[in-house]
């Protein structure tokens, strides 16, 4: 195969990857968090403020945790370029996902010194369900994966451009909190395996820079009033895990009660158990079932019933590991080490799996798989890649199940409800039950594109923010009493089953407009001017 033909192949692969990512553009429907980022991007693009009215902030808020800025600003860029549409929001991520394939190709080519393996890795990346999925929504993982891969590529060059290196590093630490723990060991490990010719001083300098950037980001975050709490709850949750704490006390107590030496019990059951628990949890994050079985059953980071890769790729993955251990050079074995290095913060994030960290291993694993194909005859390579493509395409084509699996997380059925709320709230106050979905305000904001009243009266760094009103719309929370304000003028209500159950008997509320979800279950009922809820 001559080089120009290979370039054509690469172009075709990238084009196919782009088409796969752009196909069925509206899928997946945004989660509340993604809708929030989309809406925030819109407001940032139009007013330079976020949804809480703060001008160009570096820390954003959500229902779960603080959010770092890169994702939101990248979304804003998409909206600036392509207008206030789903396309504008998704497009930057599709572009990142597509360029990522090129980067993986280039890195494989450098490490394997084999263009064919580069092409194979590009094909695998194009058809990775997780990479496809993450390229279609505004999210941190795809940016982090992209930036880390880009940094890796830049570092593989004979001359590392310090400015580009620093800029990418800064972008990485502003993308996701986990990166603060990943970046320094990533760079350190890289220099252990690569760049033998580089001056030791330069290696120390570059490692020092990323360490400094990470430490600054980390300590700055700690200054935020609820920063420490946010880290403990979301990034170091193992130290806060009540099951482990209680378990230690309970098991130790049972031993002492049974007459075993208290000292022995203390030796076996104490806080050092966090170490093996965290360690095993870390390894569980990178177990084969995550990559080839099921990556994320919630449907947040992937199609809910498939792994990071098609099942059949488990063959080249193990052959690749086999190859690297048996025949791989020191530089090639870096790939194996890297999978451990970039996921090690998972030790602290117990008991949840951390899909963001796992995502960062995808490029490395793809390259390992490419090495695995070295061990296979061409025919087998073709068959495996074909089976892979077929499986992924089936998953992409038949999404009916996916919509049902993610009925609550990605409530595509919310659109007519939002339209209704928007229509009725134009003229009068509207009350909406707050459990129709987990967090409805971001959907209202994004779907209706209403600009918020700014600035909202909140402090600068609120943690876990939940808006309860928006223009003429008021959210109604859970209550075991019927708080009917009979004295006031009746309002329009969009009530969930929870609230409807409280009032329907007494008021005989029948024949109202109802809204159903993807499982054909009633989710909301519209009551026009019948009651007033306070």
């Amino acid at each position: 195969m001559n080089r120009s033909r290979k370039k054509v192949y690469l172009l075709i692969i990238i084009l196919v990857a782009f088409l796969i990512r752009i196909y069925n553009f509206s899928f997946p429907f945004f989660t509340a968090d993604e809708a929030r980022i989309a809406y925030r991007g819109l407001i940032l693009a139009e007013t330079g403020r976020d949804e809480l009215g703060r001008p160009f902030p570096l820390i954003f808020n959500s229902l779960e945790d603080y959010q770092l800025p890169v994702t939101s600003y990248l979304t804003a860029c998409g909206i600036l370029l392509f207008g206030k549409s789903d396309f504008g929001v998704r497009f930057p991520f599709i572009i990142l996902g597509t360029i990522l394939i090129f980067l993986i190709y280039k890195i494989t080519k450098i490490l394997a010194k084999d263009e064919n393996l580069g092409l194979v890795s590009a094909i695998i990346a194009s058809f990775s369900p997780t990479l496809i999925f993450l390229s279609k929504t505004p999210n941190e993982p795809i940016i982090l994966v992209f930036l880390l891969t880009l940094l890796f590529y830049i570092m593989l060059q004979k001359q590392i451009n310090t400015i580009i290196f620093v800029v990418i590093s800064i972008l990485i630490v502003f993308t996701a909190k986990q990166s603060w723990l990943i970046l320094p060991p990533f760079v350190f490990t890289f220099f252990y395996f690569f760049q033998e010719e580089m001056l030791f001083k330069k290696k120390v300098f570059l490692t020092g820079i990323v360490l400094l950037i990470s430490v600054i980001a980390f300590t700055s975050f700690l200054i935020i009033p609820q920063g420490k709490r946010s880290l403990m709850e979301n990034n170091f949750s193992i130290f806060d895990d009540i099951t482990i704490k209680n378990g230690i006390t309970r098991l130790r107590g049972q031993g002492i009660e049974a007459g075993w030496s208290p000292l022995l019990e203390r030796i076996y059951f104490n806080k050092t158990v966090l170490l093996p628990i965290g360690f095993l949890h870390w390894l569980s994050n990178i177990q084969p079932s995550v990559y080839f079985g099921q990556f994320d059953n919630s449907g947040l980071f992937n199609y809910s019933r498939i792994g990071v890769f098609s099942k059949v790729l488990i063959i080249p993955a193990f052959l690749g590991i086999f190859f690297l251990i048996q025949e791989g050079s020191k530089r090639q074995r870096f790939l194996l080490v890297m999978i451990l290095v970039v996921t090690f913060p998972a030790i602290f994030i117990f008991p949840k799996m951390n899909q963001l960290l796992i995502s960062t291993t995808i490029p490395f694993l793809i390259i390992i798989m490419a090495f695995g194909f070295k061990k296979l005859p061409k025919l087998y390579t073709v068959i495996i890649l074909l089976v892979m493509a077929i499986e992924v395409i089936i998953n992409i084509l038949f999404l009916n199940t996916e919509a049902k699996n993610t009925n609550n997380l990605r409530p595509s059925w919310i659109v007519p409800i939002i339209s209704k709320i928007y229509d009725v709230s134009k003229t009068k106050e509207t009350a909406v039950s707050d459990d129709i979905v987990g967090d409805i305000i971001p959907y209202i904001g994004w779907q209706t594109k209403i600009m918020p009243d700014v600035p909202l009266n909140i402090d600068n760094f609120p943690y876990k923010v939940r808006q309860t009103s928006f223009k003429n719309i008021v959210l109604h929370g859970s209550d075991d009493k019927k708080n009917i304000c009979k004295s006031k003028k009746d309002m329009d209500l969009l009530v969930s089953n929870r609230d409807l159950r409280l009032i329907e008997d007494e008021f005989g509320l029948q024949n109202n407009e109802i809204f159903k979800d993807n499982l054909n279950q009633k989710r909301a009922t519209f009551l026009s001017g019948k009651l007033c809820i306070e």
Binding site: G247, G255, E265, Y268, P276, S289, F292, F350, T401
Partner: protein, 550 residues
């Protein structure tokens, strides 16, 4: 000589760990044990199980259709030792002990390396899963014993090709393993085919030599195949444990349903395959293997893995060693890999999230790989840092000793406290109490709904009552019947069923044994004066109340 002594010492260690306080730990006979021991006694005394089936090939038991081996062996032991609770645990322990030299033998033949073989035997002797399952009556331990011996004998043939008797003995042992544990009936033929494929150059040279033993094996297997393929009970058991029973998979398939029948069927098939593959891979979860896979506590990640956590390091080293020496050990590597991949299949296609008892053969291989890892480390130390050789030995021994004590602590202290409900503790005490009061009441009613945190329905209750009352199996065969009331089983004056307080309180001269899940705790409190005994779980929380209705 030194090595033989070492092996002997290892076996002694294995014996101690398997028989120490065997009568008391596990703290009570589990439903599986009590059903098998009572059926074994029934067979020994009458030639029938307690339902009157003559020499059954599958035991109805509690409608779970148990394979016959364990019950028949126990009935033989019963004939020799008479009735003691411990007899049900003896076959498991014997085969658990025999497994240690069997693994030594197998590893020795596979790697031709005495050190690795000795390390394998040592790991096997102290292995948590082997001790755990050997002390429970479970047919998987005898099954794996015969499987290991069978393949070891076949490996001998590949090395000493002239003597065909190794093939005969090997196949015979494998067939025994298949009869003992039905899941082996699927696994062994697959693994054997792969084995023959790996060593095809040896077996093809002497096709004539293997044809007759193969025919002999097929003839011996014929009855088993007939049982598996035609016996409705055997099929019922298979269907009952198949992955299709999984609720989550069922939900998935429900979601797929559409007007297009063909598409629905194809997608359902794909969904089942995806689900099964994922379950299969999950059996390799490190937290399960090295963290809490034996499910001995209720404290989340705190517990005991199938393997010691320190084994992880040596397991990785073992794998690296084998990969690095792949040129020399190509066939052995392929066989080990096939063993692991094929051995996990049963866990991948059954409905339980994790079923360690179905994957014992894989864990045994992990023990062997651990031994390879230890060997590799010591070779490395020998080569590179000789002066630290003894430190390395001591360190490895300390690590395993530390973990062994941890396991024993969990096994003897925490496990009974945490999981007494799972072996239906205190059903033995309930049964004995009922018999103690046999003459004081016209009727004794027991509702086996119980639980420490949530209600579950106890199984095999009539077995507990029959066995602990020394109730003649012959009489049980005549008396046992299904009653009219919900879940009702009747024999003699015992009725095991759902208690309806409002009706049952009107009975006369009746002993009611209920829990807070079967009768409202407020009612139990209001009738405190009628409670003649409270039964407790092992952790001293109340399990049942015996209420006397005058």
């Amino acid at each position: 000589m030194k090595k033989i002594l070492l092996l002997f010492g290892i076996i002694i260690l294995g014996i101690v760990l398997r028989i120490y306080l065997l009568n008391n730990f596990p703290i009570q006979l589990s439903p599986d044990e009590v059903t098998q021991i009572y059926d074994a006694i029934s067979i020994a005394q009458t030639g029938k199980d307690i339902y009157g089936n003559s020499f059954p090939i599958m035991f109805v038991s509690v409608n779970d259709y148990k394979p016959p081996f364990y019950t028949y062996v126990t009935s033989l032991i019963y004939v020799i030792l008479r009735n003691k609770e411990i007899i049900i645990r003896i076959p498991g322990v014997i085969f658990g002990i025999l497994l240690i030299p069997a693994i030594f033998f197998f590893t020795l033949k596979l790697f031709n390396n005495r050190k690795i073989a000795l390390f394998s035997a040592l790991i096997s002797a102290i292995s948590p899963f082997e001790i755990f399952f050997s002390r429970r009556s479970f047919e998987n331990i005898p099954g794996i014993f015969f499987m290991i011996v069978g393949f070891a004998l076949l490996i001998i043939y590949t090395q000493k090709r002239e003597n065909v008797r190794w093939i005969y003995f090997g196949l015979l042992s494998l067939i025994l393993a298949m009869y003992i544990y039905f899941s082996h009936a699927i696994i062994i033929p697959i693994l054997l085919s792969v084995f023959l494929l790996i060593y095809k150059n040896i077996f093809l040279i002497s096709v004539r030599k293997i044809v007759i033993p193969m025919i002999f094996a097929l003839i011996l297997l014929l009855p088993l195949m007939i049982i598996i393929l035609t016996n409705p009970e055997s099929r019922y058991r298979s269907q009952n444990v198949f992955i299709g029973q999984d609720i989550n998979l069922g939900k998935q398939i429900d979601f797929i349903k559409s007007d297009n029948q063909l598409l629905t069927q194809l997608l359902s098939l794909k969904s089942t395959a995806d689900f099964s593959f994922n379950r299969y891979l999950k059996q390799f979860d490190p937290s399960y293997l090295f963290g809490n896979g034996l499910d001995m506590t209720n404290q989340g990640p705190l517990g005991m893995g199938i393997l010691y956590s320190v084994q992880l390091l040596f397991l990785i080293l073992g794998i690296i060693y084998l990969i690095k020496n792949n040129n020399k050990l190509r066939k052995e590597n392929l066989f080990i890999l096939s063993w692991i991949l094929i051995g996990m299949i049963p866990s991948g296609i059954t409905f339980e999230e994790n079923s360690p008892h179905r994957s014992i053969m894989v864990f045994t291989m992990f023990d062997i790989l651990t031994a390879v890892g230890i060997f590799y480390l010591l070779v490395f130390v020998d080569l590179k840092i000789l002066k630290y050789k003894y430190i390395a030995y001591i360190l490895i021994i300390c690590l395993f000793f530390f973990q062994l004590i941890y396991f024993l602590n969990i096994y003897f202290v925490n496990y009974p406290d945490e999981k007494s409900q799972f072996i239906q503790y205190p059903f033995k005490e309930v049964a004995k109490f009922a018999w103690l009061n046999y003459n004081n009441y016209d009727k004794i009613i027991f509702d086996p709904v119980f639980g420490q945190h949530a209600p579950v329905i106890g199984t095999g209750v009539h077995y507990y009552f029959g066995y602990y009352g020394n109730y003649s199996p012959l009489k049980m065969q005549q008396e046992y019947k299904i009653g009219q009331k919900p879940r009702e089983v009747i024999f003699d004056k015992f009725s095991i069923r759902k208690v309806e307080w409002n009706e049952d309180k009107l009975l006369t001269n009746t002993l009611l044994i209920v829990s807070q899940w079967s009768v409202d705790p407020k009612i139990i409190k209001a009738n405190e004066d009628k409670i003649i005994k409270t039964f407790y779980f092992y952790d001293h929380t109340p399990a049942f109340y015996a209420i006397s209705i005058p």
